[in-house]
């Protein structure tokens, strides 16, 4: 297995910045040149492999344009017969290991990782960690030996693999060490992480934003009734707690994680990062830094030190984009073959479905991970980055169409719930029909007492603020399409437990936020009923 620590340690700060974050200084032409060159190398690599032959219909494109013309767009179904059985002899390069991922509770998708792809992924994530800890261009505030607390799924999930890789590459000290952490349950692992962090400190955290917020909230809740324990008598812990107590008292509030630790950066993933941005900053004292990664493609885009928008990494995958109109046509008619554009053809303000082609002998060609992104700007004047700036919009199948007027995605609904200011545990949404009308049915578990109608009004109001199209529903149809079902407290926790009992994997515990299946909804409703009875 690759270890890059020697390489990282030997570099000067300038070299570290240039190596891991230097892509931010590329021009669009340079970016495209790298993409084209690596794609042509990839075509050479995969042409003779059985899987490559199958996907490319025994053709060998000679140019990028020919590649986009000749090779069809693919989904995991095209690779499933080869990858689900881990048929390594059908691949262009022998993988060093396999990662798995899951969609919305469906079967696992197995993804082989070649050595070069993994090395590139780790280099990109090292860049991510440097940027996480940076406040200005060129600042490399990440050193070996620093402590990392991470709350992501363990290996063989890609996130766990990345965490393992980054620790080796930079020499970070994971709390707890990865080999021990992998044997623990999620909750147990988090508790152990913070127990160790109290003693040793934390320099960087890596997690889902919502998890970081939840941890912060738990700290706040628990700090009021904090009791001394034996473990707190350790001088380092005592000092840390005393300092935190002093700080919180000076500011006349409960203890927050930022009182305990001076975290350099919080590396976050998930669609909720922009929603919880302020919350994370409040609890942890740093603005969360976001990356866009998929198991199939690795880390595709990183935020810069400004922690605003994301920039694509040229060496990760070859990027194509299906314009929203084309994507929509294809959504309506599965037989329709949507056209794609390259990064130097995208337009500001437009949304696109992303299409990736792996480099370094990886299997996926013109693969649709099912993500929609938005090009927020063609360059970032503030940071001086001359590459298109993007924001993750949604999963391509995480939409709920309402009355053909509004198309709500996960982030919008989440944002609307969040903006009501009502504390909530979890939620899921689906589309509901009543006669000719369509409704957004939300199943919400709140942390405070509210009436469903009240929540409906509040969420409806917030949606009108956030989504222009949603506003039209009311003005055109004089309709309030939000319907809320409040679930009893602990419903989601019971759901997780049920799933765990059924032997579900960590990544499959949570019900999907958008378009959850009828079965899941029924289970939640039953669990909610049981909760009320208790």
């Amino acid at each position: 297995m690759f270890t890059g620590y020697e390489s990282f340690k030997d570099l000067t700060k300038e070299e570290r910045w240039r190596k891991y974050c230097g892509f931010l200084d590329l021009s669009l032409d340079e970016f495209m040149e790298i993409q084209r060159y690596l794609l042509m190398e990839q075509i050479e690599l995969v042409t003779d492999s059985p899987l490559g032959k199958k996907i490319m219909n025994n053709q060998k494109p000679k140019t990028v344009e020919e590649f986009c013309r000749l090779v069809p767009l693919t989904t995991y179904e095209d690779y499933k017969p080869f990858l689900s059985e881990k048929q390594e002899d059908t691949l262009a390069e022998k993988p060093v290991f396999w990662c798995r991922t899951t969609g919305h509770g469906e079967d696992f998708k197995w993804v082989p990782y070649t050595e070069r792809h993994y090395k590139r992924l780790i280099d990109t994530v090292v860049g991510g960690f440097i940027l996480t800890c940076a406040t200005r261009k060129g600042e490399v505030n990440l050193n070996g030996g620093e402590k990392l607390v991470y709350t992501v799924a363990p290996r063989p999930y890609a996130s766990g693999t990345m965490a393992e890789g980054i620790c080796q590459a930079v020499g970070l000290r994971p709390l707890p060490p990865t080999d021990i952490a992998e044997k623990m349950e999620f909750r147990q692992r988090i508790e152990e992480s913070f127990r160790l962090a109290l003693r040793q400190g934390v320099d960087v955290v890596g997690s889902l934003s919502s998890v970081l917020v939840k941890i912060g909230e738990r700290f706040t809740e628990q700090s009021a009734g904090m009791k001394l324990s034996l473990s707190m008598l350790h001088p380092a812990v005592l000092f840390r707690l005393s300092r935190a107590l002093l700080r919180s008292k000076l500011e006349r509030r409960s203890i927050l994680p930022r009182d305990l630790w001076s975290v350099k950066g919080a590396l976050c993933s998930g669609t909720d990062t922009s929603i919880y941005r302020e919350q994370v900053a409040h609890h942890w004292g740093v603005t969360p830094w976001e990356l866009y990664a998929t198991t199939e493609a690795g880390a595709l885009a990183l935020q810069s030190w400004s922690k605003e928008w994301m920039t694509f990494v040229p060496h990760s995958s070859f990027l194509e984009f299906i314009p929203e109109a084309e994507w929509f046509k294809n959504r309506e008619d599965k037989e329709y073959h949507p056209s794609t554009v390259l990064l130097d053809e995208v337009k500001e303000g437009e949304c696109y479905e992303i299409v990736i082609t792996n480099f370094y002998g990886m299997p996926f060609l013109r693969y649709r991970p099912g993500d929609l992104i938005k090009i927020v700007a063609l360059k970032d004047e503030k940071t001086g980055i001359n590459l298109p700036q993007i924001a993750f919009k949604s999963r391509a199948d995480d939409f709920i169409d309402l009355a053909s007027l509004a198309r709500l995605d996960e982030k919008t609904v989440w944002q609307a719930i969040f903006n009501t200011g009502v504390k909530f545990e979890e939620w899921t949404a689906c589309k509901e029909y009543e006669g000719d009308q369509t409704y957004l049915r939300l199943y919400l578990e709140l942390k405070e007492k509210r009436e469903p109608q009240e929540m409906e009004q509040m969420i409806d109001h917030q949606l009108q603020i956030i989504d222009v199209d949603y506003r039209d529903i009311e003005s055109w149809l004089e309709l309030h399409p939000v319907r809320v079902t409040l679930l009893s407290p602990g419903t989601f926790q019971r759901f997780y437990e049920e799933k765990q009992k059924e032997g579900a994997d960590l990544a499959q515990l949570k019900p999907r936020h958008m378009n959850a299946s009828e079965g899941i909804i029924q289970t939640l409703l039953q669990l909610s009923q049981a909760g009320y009875k208790e």
Partner: protein
């Protein structure tokens, strides 16, 4: 007590400090925290130096004491900033506690410095003011020193950690500066020792500033070595000089030595020392500048060797060897563009057992693009660091790894094009390449570009020479090959210059023309070709030369045509000639290459086919002309019958003499026309021959006898080669005689016209079932275009009045009617040969065809005659003629009407025109035959169309009597009489 030596150092230190501060502020203000701290350090050093200056310049100890107490906190600040700076510049982990403690202590020292805790009092020493220190200062000084040592530790740690040579140098400067300051500062606390810290500060400031601002340009080792060199050299000069002076002074101390002696001695010494100086310098170079010495030697050697090396491969190996040796690199490879420009390949390599083969660095890859764009030397680490280069393909990476690439030096032309890359492996010392190494490489690669270009040009020229040699060899071989081919070819191959003078003739010319090569070479081309062929050849040449003047032309074009050549024996040989230009180096024609192939054998069947084809065409044409002639004759014959008939009638009348004369003229002229129409019909094979078995030889001799006198008077010599065994054949002797006479007459006329004499050879022979009669003359011959038309009626080449042009057409008609053929072979200027082919008809056929001669009929009158003709003039004429004979004549102008009349009326003779409007004469005859055969036997056909095949077949089939228009009235009467007599 106070002198300038004492005051100057702090002023120098302050001055240097200010100058460096300005430079740092100007150049380093954007550089971040390191420069900010360094600026603070400089400010403190300047302050310290100025305060020391003020102290030293103080008028008394009281003033000096005040200033010296101010020195203490500033000096402390200097140490603190040193330390802080060491943290910033090395990037080692911040020792925050120590730093904060230092700043805290600084505040304490500032606060306490005016008191006597640090400086108790001042005293005057031999060098100036010296402080008497308090115990507190020792502690402060110790802490101060601790900070400085920590700073030194940080710097040494940093020095050991960094890999980049430039950065190492920078830290080395600072470390040395710091060490000197530390050592110098120790003496500050001892009043009896001259205070040296100020000098240490000066040294440090200079070294540190230079290191920071120009670290990548200087190498500390050079300064050390340079110093050593100058000390050595100075000693080398000074020792003998001092020695001699010492000697002079001591030996001649009682005498006064004049100044000029010193001067002379110095000059001599200087001159003598020059070689020594050089020697020492070389020695020192060898000792201390080993790398530099190697570089210089390398450059010198490089310069010398590349001058003598012209070959690219040799140059490449020389360069890699030199560079590798000079830089003590584990390997060196020179990469140059591949043949197809797909990338770079290893052109030369040193120190590698198996350098990578094929394209090492892709032409489209990021490495070449980056090197071309930036032109900087690239280390292997940078390949992994520079974002653009991170996309380097694994193949390229593997190749570079295989070469042990540690340094990639682009070789760029002045125009900025990348000519190649010099790839160096790790240094044998395991050190990194220094700035000097890179400078050497820059010099080498700059020169290398020129040398490579020269070598490339040399290679190209060598290649061109080799190619030219090869081409010449190939040409020679090709010449030999082609000469061999030419010499052994059956075809005659020859070349001529543009003036048509022969320059080469292959031996096969003898086979083709009968001349030896020498004879053929001596012959002008005009003599080789027949006049017609030469004319054609010249015409083609003119056309081809015209094409040469065009811009777009095919230089390899050739023309092929059939020509005739004169053989030595006078015969003519047909050849297929292929002609193309021989071209000079500029592509312009310098001669003509001709290849002539004898096509006689091929030509014979071809000629025969052609002749047959021509005959077919001619026959067809003549047949159609015959049809036309017959039609014309028919049309003329009707009115002509009237003209002749009425003229005859008129002449039989009692008319005045003058009118008779006119009528006679009319009659004669009409008879002449009748003769013409008769010949036309003969040509058209419409006149029925009167055949009998005959000997063709007899007819020839009779005909010749007829022309004997004329031939003699015309100097015509007629020779006969008559086949005595020639069989007889059935033919019309008169008509045959007409044919032969016509041919002989024509020959006579043409030969006499051409040369007033002539030879006529008449030959008969039997060929298969045919009698061939040929008439060969030596007249002017017949032009090809005329040969084809010669048998057409009215075709003549003679002047008007010298013949109607019917003679040969009549011959044609007669011969054709006999089932034979007539044709001519002739070439302009070569006479003509007319050949008559007659089929041999057997005896049995003769019997079938034999006819008995008719007897003279008795005169009959009073017969009832019906005349049916659509020509009113004929009806009138016949009515008048037959009425005068005592016959009762009725006329009808329509076939239908006539048939109708014949149903009701009975006639003795029915004169029936064959061609009638409506029902034809033949149809009426057939109807009559059906009605009563006797009636049909009374029919006499009148026709101007003996002519059409149907008519001929009908007449010969029915044996019906007929009278051809134009007829003589007497002839008509006899015919009527014969029918009436036989009928009766």
């Amino acid at each position: 007590v106070i002198d300038l030596d004492y005051l100057l150092p702090p002023l120098v230190a302050a001055g240097l400090g200010i100058a460096l501060l300005v430079i740092v502020l100007l150049r380093g203000r954007q550089q971040g925290v390191v420069f900010r701290i360094f600026s603070l350090l400089l400010v403190s050093v300047i302050g310290w130096a100025l305060i020391i200056f003020a102290m030293r310049a103080s008028p008394d100890v009281e003033h000096a004491l005040r200033w010296d107490r101010a020195v203490v906190p500033v000096g402390f600040a200097v140490s603190l900033f040193y330390y802080h700076f060491s943290l910033a510049v090395t990037g080692v982990k911040q020792q925050r506690v120590l730093l904060r403690a230092g700043y805290l202590l600084l505040l304490v020292v500032v606060a306490l410095s005016p008191s006597s805790l640090f400086i108790q009092r001042m005293e005057v020493q031999y060098y100036g003011y010296a402080p008497i220190i308090g115990l507190s200062l020792i502690f402060a000084f110790a802490f101060n020193y601790f900070l400085s040592i920590m700073a030194l530790y940080n710097l040494i740690k940093g020095y050991r950690n960094v890999r980049i040579p430039e950065e190492k140098n920078r830290l080395l400067y600072i470390t040395i500066g710091m060490a000197i300051t530390l050592i110098a500062g120790v003496f500050e606390i001892f009043p009896i020792i001259y205070p040296t810290a100020i000098f240490g500060s000066i040294v440090f400031c200079v070294l540190a500033s230079v290191a920071i601002l120009k670290y990548h340009l200087l190498d500390i080792h050079i300064i050390i070595r340079k110093g050593t060199v100058y000390i050595l050299l100075s000693a080398t000069i000074a020792i003998p000089y001092v020695g001699i002076i010492f000697l002079f002074t001591h030996v001649f101390k009682t005498q006064v030595i004049p100044s000029w002696v010193y001067l002379v001695v110095i000059i001599i010494l200087a001159m003598a020392l020059q070689p020594l100086w050089s020697r020492v310098q070389r020695l020192v170079d060898r000792w201390f500048y080993r790398e530099r010495y190697d570089y210089l030697k390398a450059l010198e050697q490089y310069s010398q060797e590349t001058q003598s090396v012209e070959n690219l491969a040799e140059l490449g190996s020389t360069i890699v060897e030199l560079v590798r040796g000079a830089l003590r690199a584990s390997s060196a490879c020179l990469l140059l563009p591949s043949e197809g420009k797909h990338g770079l390949v290893v052109a030369s390599c040193s120190g590698l057992e198996s350098p990578p083969s094929g394209v090492v660095v892709s032409g489209r890859g990021p490495l070449l693009k980056w090197l071309e764009l930036h032109g900087d030397t690239l280390t292997s680490d940078q390949l992994d660091i520079i974002p653009q280069l991170q996309s380097l393909s694994h193949i390229e990476k593997d190749n570079l790894e295989q070469m042990g690439a540690n340094l990639c030096v682009p070789i760029k032309s002045r125009q900025g094009h990348l000519s190649g890359i010099l790839v160096l492996g790790q240094k044998l010392s395991q050190q990194s390449y220094s700035g000097e190494d890179k400078q050497l490489l820059a010099v080498v690669t700059n020169q290398l570009v020129v040398a490579l270009e020269n070598a490339r040009l040399y290679d190209k020229s060598q290649q061109e020479v080799a190619e030219r040699k090869q081409a010449e060899e190939a040409l020679k071989e090709s010449e030999r090959h082609y000469r061999l081919l030419a010499e052994n070819a059956k075809d005659a191959i020859w070349t001529v210059d543009m003036n048509m003078r022969p320059t080469y003739m292959s031996p096969s010319i003898t086979y083709l023309l009968g001349y030896t090569v020498e004879e053929a070479m001596a012959n002008p081309m005009e003599a080789v070709y027949t006049p017609a062929s030469f004319e054609i050849a010249m015409k083609i040449l003119a056309e081809e030369l015209a094409i040469e003047n065009m811009e777009q032309k095919d230089l390899s074009r050739s023309r092929t045509m059939e020509l005739e050549l004169n053989r030595k024996d006078g015969s003519i040989v047909s050849v297929e000639g292929n002609f193309s230009f021989l071209r000079g180096p500029d592509g312009r024609p310098v001669g003509i290459l001709a290849i002539s192939r004898d096509i006689t054998e091929r030509k014979q069947p071809e000629e025969r086919d052609k002749q047959l084809q021509q005959e077919r065409i001619l026959t067809s044409r003549l047949a159609s002309i015959g049809e036309m002639a017959a039609g014309i004759a028919h049309e003329i014959n009707n009115p002509l019958t009237g003209v002749i008939g009425y003229a005859d009638l008129l002449l039989k009348k009692n008319i005045p003499e003058n009118i008779r004369k006119d009528a006679n003229i009319i009659y004669d002229a009409a008879q002449r026309v009748a003769g013409i129409t008769s010949r036309m019909l003969t040509f058209a094979s419409k006149a029925k021959p009167e055949r009998a078995s005959l000997d063709v030889n007899d007819i020839i001799e009779t005909t010749l006898a007829m022309r004997d006198y004329e031939m003699k008077t015309g100097n015509i010599k007629a020779t006969t080669q008559l086949d005595p065994g020639l069989p007889t054949t059935v033919a019309d002797s008169g008509q045959l005689q007409q044919v032969f006479l016509n041919i002989i007459l024509n020959a006579e006329i043409e030969m006499v016209k051409a040369h007033n004499s002539g030879n006529l050879l008449i030959k008969t022979e039997r060929i298969n079932d045919t009698i061939w009669v040929s008439f060969k003359d030596d007249g002017p011959g017949i032009a090809k275009e005329n040969v084809e038309r010669i048998f057409e009626p009215f075709f003549t080449t003679r002047e008007v009045g010298q013949g109607a042009g019917l003679g040969l057409s009549v011959c044609y008609g007669i011969v054709t009617q006999h089932g034979g053929k007539i044709h001519v072979e002739s070439k302009l200027g070569k006479g003509a040969t007319f050949i008559v082919e007659l089929p041999i008809v057997t005896e049995a056929e003769q019997l079938e065809l034999a006819e008995s001669a008719p007897s003279e009929p008795k005169k009959v009158s009073g017969a009832r005659i019906l005349v049916v003709d659509d020509e009113p003039i004929i009806l009138e004429l016949l009515t008048e003629v037959l009425s005068k004979e005592g016959h009762e004549v009725e006329t009808m102008d329509s076939g239908n009407d006539a048939l109708e009349r014949l149903r009701s009326e009975d006639y003795d003779v029915i004169l029936l025109d064959i061609k009638l409007p409506g029902m034809s004469g033949i149809e009426i005859y057939k109807q009559l035959q059906k009605r009563a055969t006797s009636l049909a036997r009374r029919v006499v056909f009148i026709t101007g169309d003996v002519m059409s095949r149907d008519t001929t077949v009908f007449l010969s089939g029915t044996s019906a009597p007929y009278i051809a228009k134009p007829f003589d009235t007497e002839q008509l009467k006899k015919k009527i009489d014969r029918i009436l007599t036989e009928g009766t």
